[in-house]
């Protein structure tokens, strides 16, 4: 059964802003011998995910779990198997303008994410220019956006290199907003910023969400950031979603051992998990194999089944409660 079916209750008849259906991606590992068969490493393994209109969706997981790849696939920057629907429509590579007007992104490092040779105004105007807006409307829109992101309108004449890190990230957000997209992907958008600036940017995201009704996919390794902003959260491990629930549901009742570990690893006053946490144990020394659960080799509660059969994503919520999906034999 497809996970998106299970989410039907959450969406009712509304078409989700974004739908990822069975998205898979893999790359070839170099062959061991010159003409040997190439091994494949799966980066994404049949990921299903839907984001409703006006929803803040959090995606967390360790480095290399595939969360950034998923974001890039949604933006059409890489090719993947499976389907990515925006407002129920599928866009191919050539429809980059249509795609860009639906989905935009804010990336991790604002210092390198903006072309250093250009001026702020030019960068903000560029999406409008390639989408064929007339000049006067472009200028008006740029001023609107500058106000929206809380930057002085005179900054548009400055070069990117003259701005501070926080200002640069605001410009990145402005570039993403200027086309009024349906969804913005924030890929570790605050991890390169220092704490106080990161807080300002998070507040900006929060206010943009409430003012514009923007849908957002918030990709982060920081659970607290995601909890603060998001309505629903999915936890990824090794290219699969292993747990997904409402933010409160995931924080109050984390079920997957990996989620428990992730919560424990976040030093925070919000830490809701009580008592002793399962150590990241080597007690069960299953070899790293693709057959069983991806967490099995590091799981303290690992049983034999975990190493032999990959668990399916199941809904464990009580009837009439929001879905709580989990991929674990023990839950």
């Amino acid at each position: 059964m497809c996970a998106s079916d299970k989410e039907q209750a959450y969406f009712g008849d509304d078409i989700p802003v974004l739908q990822a259906i069975d998205v898979s991606n893999s790359y070839d590992l170099p062959a061991k011998w010159l003409f040997g068969a190439k091994a494949q490493r799966k980066v994404l393994d049949s990921v299903n995910l839907s984001i409703a209109e006006g929803e803040m969706f959090g995606l967390v997981g360790e480095s290399g779990c595939g969360k950034t790849t998923l974001g890039r696939a949604m933006l059409g920057l890489i090719n993947v198997q499976g389907q990515i629907l925006l407002d129920g429509q599928c866009f191919d590579v050539r429809q980059r303008l249509q795609r860009a007007s639906k989905i935009q992104a804010v990336f991790q490092n604002p210092a390198s994410a903006l072309n250093p040779a250009k001026k702020v105004g030019w960068l903000l105007e560029e999406p409008l220019r390639i989408h064929g807006w007339p000049r006067l409307q472009r200028e008006k829109r740029v001023l609107e956006v500058l106000e929206l992101i809380g930057l002085d309108t005179n900054l548009r004449h400055r070069r990117v290199t003259e701005l501070s890190g926080g200002q640069k990230q605001r410009v990145c957000i402005g570039c993403a907003l200027v086309l009024s997209p349906r969804l913005i992907i924030a890929d570790e958008a605050t991890s390169a910023l220092d704490v106080s600036v990161a807080a300002q940017i998070l507040n900006l995201f929060g206010s943009l969400h409430s003012e514009l009704g923007l849908s957002m996919l918030f990709i982060s390794h920081n659970l607290d950031v995601v909890y603060y902003l998001c309505d629903r959260i999915a936890v990824m491990l090794d290219g699969r979603i292993i747990e997904q629930s409402t933010a409160a549901g995931l924080y109050d009742h984390p079920l997957h051992p990996y989620t428990l570990n992730l919560l424990a690893a976040t030093p925070s006053i919000h830490n809701r998990v009580d008592g002793e946490l399962p150590p990241e144990a080597e007690s069960c020394t299953a070899p790293y194999a693709k057959v069983g659960c991806a967490w099995a080799s590091r799981c303290s509660r690992c049983i034999r089944l975990c190493t032999e059969q990959a668990p399916e994503l199941r809904n464990v919520a009580k009837p009439k409660e929001p879905a709580h999906l989990i991929r674990c034999h023990l839950a």
């Binding site: 890039r72 980059r96 072309n115 250093p116 040779a117 990117v160």
Partner: protein
């Protein structure tokens, strides 16, 4: 500002060293200009008299200072071979070489820019490999051989121009430009090979940057991402070799002028060396050095002006 002053001072020191080196080279080289002028039959007294007349009997430092003060005051002396003021002669030869060099630079850019962009647009494709292979081939071919090849194929084979029939700019500007096209091409192609390879790598490096990902997610086409976003940032590191290539173009023009019998500075230099006309050689080498050093200084300053990252410092 202080950067420009510092850079100009370095250039000045370079030029002084070049002048000393050229002077020293001629002092060490065998062959006496007086003997060359008078021929083998002249007796010792005649040679000595001519040496005194030319100032060659003076000690070397005195000769150097005399030449230097003359050069700086705008009087580079008289050619031993032609018995004419050197600066007057240089002035009549310079337009030819300057046009040739300018055409070579333009041709180089016209070849290198599109090919580098095309190679970077389809990295690791057959077109990228073809461009890379051709670039390597043209870098490896010596300029004079390429010149001979051009004469053979386009001059003698296809009759697109008459080899050796130089048309002066005083006769016909159009004819002059058309004739110089072929030697300029022979100079430009090896330089274009180098510039293309360098620019392609620089572009590829830019394409992995985060800002390229931003530009792509804005909906830019791959071609526009290359031209509008990557190119300017890629040219900044590639400009450093442009300075070196300008040196190559002058070195190339010396040989190519001989191959295509173009009466430019290069041919004047070669004939002056064989005649031991060393006031002429010294002056020509100095002028060439000034141009190359100036070009490199301009490139360095230009990088500072273009590159927004170093501009503020």
């Amino acid at each position: 500002m202080s950067f420009i002053v510092k850079r100009l001072l370095i250039s000045l020191v370079t030029l002084i060293l070049v002048s000393l080196l050229v002077f020293a080279a001629f002092a060490i080289l065998p062959g006496d200009p007086a003997r060359v002028i008078l021929g083998q039959d002249a007796n010792e007294a005649q040679v000595a008299a001519l040496r005194a007349q030319l100032g060659l009997d003076q000690p070397l430092p005195a000769q150097y200072l005399q030449w230097l003060t003359g050069f700086l005051s705008g009087d580079a002396g008289t050619s031993i071979k032609y018995k004419l003021p050197i600066n007057l002669m240089v002035a009549s030869y310079i337009p030819v070489t300057a046009t040739l060099a300018a055409m070579a630079i333009i041709l180089m850019l016209l070849i290198a820019l599109p090919t580098a962009l095309l190679a970077a647009r389809f990295p690791d494709s057959w077109i990228d490999r073809l461009i890379s292979t051709l670039a390597t081939v043209f870098i490896s071919i010596p300029g004079f051989f390429l010149g001979v090849l051009l004469i053979w194929v386009f001059g003698l084979g296809l009759h697109l121009f008459v080899a050796g029939k130089y048309i002066s700019y005083e006769t016909s500007i159009a004819g002059f430009i058309v004739y110089l096209f072929w030697p300029a091409l022979a100079i430009a192609v090896p330089c274009a090979g180098m510039a293309c390879k360098y620019l392609r790598d620089s572009l590829m490096q830019q394409l992995t940057s985060d800002y390229i990902r931003t530009a792509r997610s804005k909906g830019n086409t791959p071609g526009r991402v290359l031209r509008v976003h990557a190119l300017k940032n890629a040219i900044i590191p590639a400009m450093t070799i442009l300075g070196m290539i300008i040196g190559d173009i002058f070195a190339g023009s010396i040989i190519i002028e001989a191959v295509f019998s173009v009466p430019g500075i290069g041919r004047l230099l070669v004939s002056s060396i064989s005649y031991r006309d060393f006031p002429m050689v010294q002056t020509l080498v100095m002028y060439i050095a000034v141009v190359i050093v100036l070009a490199n200084t301009l490139v360095d300053v230009g990088i500072k002006v273009i590159d927004p990252r170093v501009r503020l410092q």
